[in-house]
């Protein structure tokens, strides 16, 4: 995928470029806000990673300008401002996700991949399917090999998020945001505990495991071996 990185911190940028390139992406790195904006407007990219503090034009202005011109390019905003209002500001400006520095590269990669997902379903789809696991979105019921599975509301929601992002790594923070609507990290093992409960219900020993733990990153649901 073609990634546009607008980041003036050269070391951080090198780190990101290296990691994304190794993950198979094509990265164009610019250090100036104005140049970055021009590039985003005139060229075609699959995703833009924009630092909030930039020389020239700042990140928020770039995001606003792109959205105002009708550009729907997925944008991930990077910032050292982990502060109270900043996330809201960033999302309000039109960015799709928001990551506070310093971050683990796996977090960045997981979020980039989540933003790159193409919507597989055109129009309303009422079922999600991974392997022999099925989720009925209308009846809110899950089934494995035809066996109905009884899920608590939170477990259902967790499973839905994992299935919608089938094959992608979902980090702890991403799951906390999407399943529990939390923008901070409670120290305790909320995600782990719920994952293990979910596992015990949908990944019984006799079936092929679908929920995978990616060490150092997060979790992923898929049926490849």
């Amino acid at each position: 995928m073609r990634v546009l990185l607008i980041e003036d911190d050269v070391e951080a940028a090198a780190f990101i470029v290296k990691g994304l390139t190794e993950a198979g992406h094509n990265v164009n790195h610019l250090t100036d806000g104005r140049d970055g904006m021009t590039e985003a407007v005139h060229e075609v990219y699959d995703i833009a990673i924009v630092d909030r503090m930039l020389p020239g034009v700042d990140g928020l202005s770039i995001v606003r300008a792109l959205r105002a011109s009708g550009n729907h390019l997925p944008i991930l905003l990077l910032t050292s401002l982990g502060g109270v209002n900043d996330r809201v500001c960033g999302l309000d400006a039109g960015s799709d996700d928001y990551l506070v520095k310093p971050f683990a590269f796996t977090e960045l990669l997981a979020r980039v991949n989540a933003l790159l997902r193409r919507p597989q379903l055109k129009g309303e789809d009422t079922r999600l399917r991974v392997g022999d696991l099925e989720l009925d979105l209308v009846a809110h019921k899950a089934m494995r090999s035809g066996r109905p599975i009884d899920l608590q509301p939170r477990e259902y929601r967790l499973l839905e998020v994992l299935m919608r992002n089938k094959g992608r790594v979902m980090t702890r923070t991403m799951l906390l945001e999407r399943v529990w609507n939390l923008n901070f990290d409670p120290k305790t093992s909320v995600v782990e505990t719920h994952i293990s409960r979910l596992r015990s219900k949908i990944d019984p020993p006799q079936d092929k495991p679908l929920i995978h733990t990616i060490r150092g990153s997060g979790y992923s649901l898929h049926d490849d071996t």
């Binding site: 982990g82 502060g83 109270v84 939390l182 901070f184 305790t188 093992s189 909320v190 505990t193």
Partner: protein, 462 residues
């Protein structure tokens, strides 16, 4: 203070404006009065003149022309002032009796200027204006007139007196108002002096309050409150800086020693790998601590208050329960969620911050209670206030320590070995403060009970 500067002072300006206005009004009143009196004067003179004339005409009619002439003579002799003029002419227009001469008959009410009149004896002219009328009598014509000279003189004296009186009043009023104005001005100047001192860095200066309980006092009190708040904020910033310096340097220092040790002692790639992974964990902790300190400072500065919305505490409670029930049960503990109230518990607040607040309280309980402990939430309402209660049956906090736990990085001695940067409860205090809520710690016998009281129940659509 130079004169132009003096006039820029509000109090002085105000008092001089009022004094001048008062004086002008007074003068206006007096002059209006004298004009009115003047007009009254004229009609009264006219009335007196006609009275006199009518009396004389009656004499003419009842006793005859000669009697009239003789009365006029007597009158003239009796008159020792020239307040009245009398002139009797015969049919041919010749002088018969009177105290003036050379005046020709005319119709209507006349106003004759005294300067144009000649006295019968001596031919002197008179002062003032005479309101006079010619009347036909049996054998001639009679002129009766009354002059206003004397009364006008009296009026003139009155006007002079009132003018001087007014000027005197003006002076007194000016002086008095200047005195009062200076007093008020001094208080305003005190405000200015204090604020100047504060802007130069003396943050503990306060404005003197005179005790009159008037508007200047109120401004002074408000200013002092603002200054105290400012001082507190500056104190917080300083506190935050020293906390950061002290409390972040420790783990950073530890990291450094760890790196040095690794360089000295590591033998193979495996050792290095482990050391680096350890370092990553420590770095994450340092970052989290830093973020928390920053967040607390921002919250204390009130940064988030503009984002407040109406929300239901009951919903927040169930969101919190959603996160922790499974976690606590998995550790062998018991979790009791809050029973919802029959109606929404609406307050104005920030959802994420409140989630963080209760999250911290529960985590605190999880961290300090042994496995198998019981943790419960409750939501109560009384007197327009909502109370959220987080309680556990763990070791609790001794009464003597409860005040201290909210200070930034304070930790109870016995918990120094457990994880956590110790910022959890100070973040709780900061968020509660921002929401106007009070946090109290009590003994749960056994265990700890934390009560967060929201006094500002918000009436509005959920």
């Amino acid at each position: 203070m130079t004169t132009p500067e003096l006039f820029k002072r509000t109090a002085i300006r105000l008092s001089m404006t009022l004094a001048s206005l008062f004086t002008l009004l007074l003068l206006g009143l007096y002059f209006g009065l004298t004009i009115y009196l003047g007009a009254q004067l004229e009609s009264q003179i006219g009335a007196r003149m006609r009275e006199t004339r009518d009396a004389l005409v009656i004499i003419d009619r009842t006793k005859g022309y000669d009697e009239l002439a003789s009365t006029v003579l007597d009158e003239v002799a009796a008159l020792n002032t020239t307040g009245s003029i009398l002139l009797l002419l015969d049919e041919g227009g010749s002088f018969v009796a009177g105290n003036v001469k050379d005046l020709a008959p005319a119709t209507g009410t006349l106003k004759i200027d005294g300067a144009s009149i000649r006295t019968a004896e001596g031919g002197k002219s008179l002062r003032g204006t005479y309101v006079a009328e010619w009347t036909r009598v049996s054998k001639g014509r009679l002129l009766v007139g009354i002059g206003d000279a004397e009364v006008r003189e009296t009026l003139g004296t009155l006007r002079q007196a009132t003018t001087w009186g007014t000027l005197l009043t003006l002076c007194i009023v000016l002086v008095a108002s200047l005195i009062y104005a200076r007093r008020a001005q001094r208080r305003i100047d005190a405000l200015e002096t204090t604020l100047t001192a504060v802007s130069q860095g003396n943050i503990d200066r306060r404005v003197p309050v005179a005790g009159y309980d008037d508007d200047i006092d109120h401004v002074a009190i408000m200013t002092n409150e603002a200054l105290s708040h400012l001082q507190k904020l500056i104190g917080n910033v300083n506190q935050a800086s020293s906390d950061i310096a002290h409390d972040l340097k420790k783990p950073i220092g530890r990291l450094q020693y760890q790196m040095e040790t690794t360089l000295r002692e590591a033998k193979d790639v495996g050792d290095y790998r482990i050391a680096i992974m350890d370092a990553q964990v420590r770095l994450a902790e340092i970052t989290a601590t830093f973020e928390a300190l920053l967040r607390i400072s921002q919250i204390e500065a009130g940064a988030r208050k503009t984002g407040f919305q109406s929300l239901d505490l009951g919903e927040v409670m169930s969101q919190v329960a959603d996160i922790y029930d499974v976690v606590i049960e998995d550790q062998g503990g018991r979790f009791t969620p809050a029973t919802p109230l029959p109606h929404p518990a609406l307050i104005l607040g920030d959802r994420q911050l409140l989630l963080q607040l209760f999250s911290n309280l529960i985590e605190n309980a999880i961290r300090h209670c042994p496995a198998g402990s019981s943790i419960s939430l409750a939501l109560e309402q009384s007197d327009g206030a909502f109370r959220v209660i987080v309680s556990d049956n763990g070791p609790g906090i001794p009464a003597s320590e409860r005040e201290n736990v909210f200070k930034r990085m304070y930790r109870l001695e016995k918990s120094r070995t457990s994880e956590g940067s110790g910022l959890g409860l100070s973040l709780v205090a900061a968020i509660a403060d921002l929401h106007g809520a009070k946090v109290t710690l009590d003994d749960a016998n056994p265990g700890l009970r934390v009560t967060v009281t929201f006094a500002n129940a918000h009436r509005g659509a959920a």
